[in-house]
Amino acid sequence: MFLKPYVPQSEEMVQIMDPNGNIVKPEWMPNLSNEEIIEMYETMVFSRIIDEKILQYQRQGRILTYAPNLGQEAAQVGSGFAIKQTDWVASAFRELGVWLRKKAPLYNILLYWYGNEEGMHMPEEVRILPVSVPIASQLQHATGLAYASKYRNEPDVTLGYVGDGGTSQGDFHEALNFASVNQTPNVFIVQNNQFAISTRRAVQTKVKTIAEKALAYGMPGIQVDGNDIFAMYAVTKEAVDQARNGGGPTLIEAYTYRLGAHTTADDPTVYRDQEEVEEWLKKDPIDRLKKYMLKAGIWDEEKEEALRKEKSEIVKSEFTKVENSEPVALEAVFDYIYADKTSIQKEQYYKLKALQEEVE
């Protein structure tokens, strides 16, 4: 529907719901039950509340660096809802909505950002690779995951996420090329949030849309309103289905905006005006879906309040657990470098242990 014939250069961004929550393309509206729409909404709100809470904890000095997702919830949750629990995800560090959708325990997520690798030891069924900090490198893993699924004739699809800045890395190029050449079941989602830290999207590439880059790999490329959860869901679903059915990879550009700071170490007022942010606040993906739901009569302020209260409580209690979690033992930093500690590591371990015990 969206992918053929694709003309990524046409600059026609796929939008189904406008910023006022009106369905502007009813013929494209995905077939979602009210329950599913509410679940999507709840997931977005959950993501938002987690971000807000962590930012609050961060100001209180209770957590260190964190990369908030503010404004990008639809891009993440919408695409995340288009895959199955058994599908794989290789993401960077700003995909909270996808983690939530894939049933990653909040405790784990918080523990990770608290500064403990143990958080990334997710339950096996989550099937998301750990946070990947080296920009764009994770897309290469996405291709290998998908190759292995195809190799065993398993139906799983792998979603690879990257930012607009990440499209400049060589790894972006190689991964898309590998996927296209090997027709692996991959879908690549670029969260174009207009910034790589302070660097604007226009500095990264001269093309009008990032979706156009798909042309270099002979794969469909499509630009989607990343703040429209229905559009994100519908397009990703089609791409995922196509990949699952042997149709090969797709590149999706989610056109969105990072409403918050790059990370808590960043001060965006240095490089952008508040007016620009205000403009984008009007397109807020959560408000947008809420307006739709209110109009559709499947949501009300009472439910909203209950939801926010419930989610806030969850974050609070999980974060309390994280704050009360065991300190990282000396064993823990040695135990996972190799399956078995080396003889030198063992000596180093005992030496450090003795030193630490002496001090205590």
Binding site: G115, I197, S198, V270, Y271, A332, V333, Q345, L352
Partner: protein, 325 residues
Amino acid sequence: MAVLNLIEAITHALDYEMGKDESVVVYGEDVGFEGGVFRATKGLQQKYGEKRVFDSILAESSIVGSGIGMAINGLRPVVEIQFSGFMFPGYNQIVTHAARMRNRSRGLYTVPMVIRMPYGGGVRALEHHSESLEVLFAHIPGLKVVIPSTPYDAKGLLLAAIRDPDPVIFLEPKRIYRAFKQEVPEEDYTIPIGKAKVVKSGSDLTVVTWGAMVRDTQKAIEIVEKEGFNIELIDLRTISPIDQETVVESVKKTGRFVVVHEAVSSYGPGAELISIINEKAFLHLEAPPTRVAPPDIIVPLPKGEHHYLPDVNHIAVALRQVLKF
């Protein structure tokens, strides 16, 4: 004379040299408008324009590779890798080209370029923000590797690096970017690359270290000296080429040697120093040359990082052991 911290001294040095030499260009991720995530290049774009100071595309191989081309064609690029842990995509360009262009063209083309990288741990950062990778550069013929430990040295070494005819990897110990201030002359001065600095002379033991570890080691030495010892401290300053003369001289005098560093122990930088000492001062050795270094593990995330970096106590224990051997 200004009183500056280390990062300010770097900004000052860049500003100084850009004012003096039009061929100096400065770029890297977020280096332009924002002035870099550590603000090392703050104000430079405003002062020198977008042609001379700019935001690169997010691609380290391009940052290094384009810099090589610029250097060959008459510019003096000073590029920033945001954190040393992100230099890997640019490592191919560093090793196979920057380090080799002079040899490959038998002196026709050279790469007078500086690659600045904040490095090291102790700032409770995300993954890949804390690595100490000096060996990966120091093992490569054709590269020079410099690490300042004070604001004064930072300016003098950076000016020397920019004016050096060969590529210099300039590793900045970000843990002490803002740790202390020092008087830094406004005038032109350089500190020669390849010369270590005897921070404090002593007769019982030679300790070599560099970067942020100089301060921790100084503290450990103060503690141990109270116990009646007299220790010589050398700030290596240049990791490659090593100032073997200064180190060997010192060990010949003291007979004992400890090296302290932030890189992991195995195949780490300390091993080279120990080997040089074996080769050059074997008969003077009264105790086994010893290294104080992190274990062979990946730098843990903040909650486990204290297990990684040797602290003052750890260093002091090692000094005592060697002194009492």
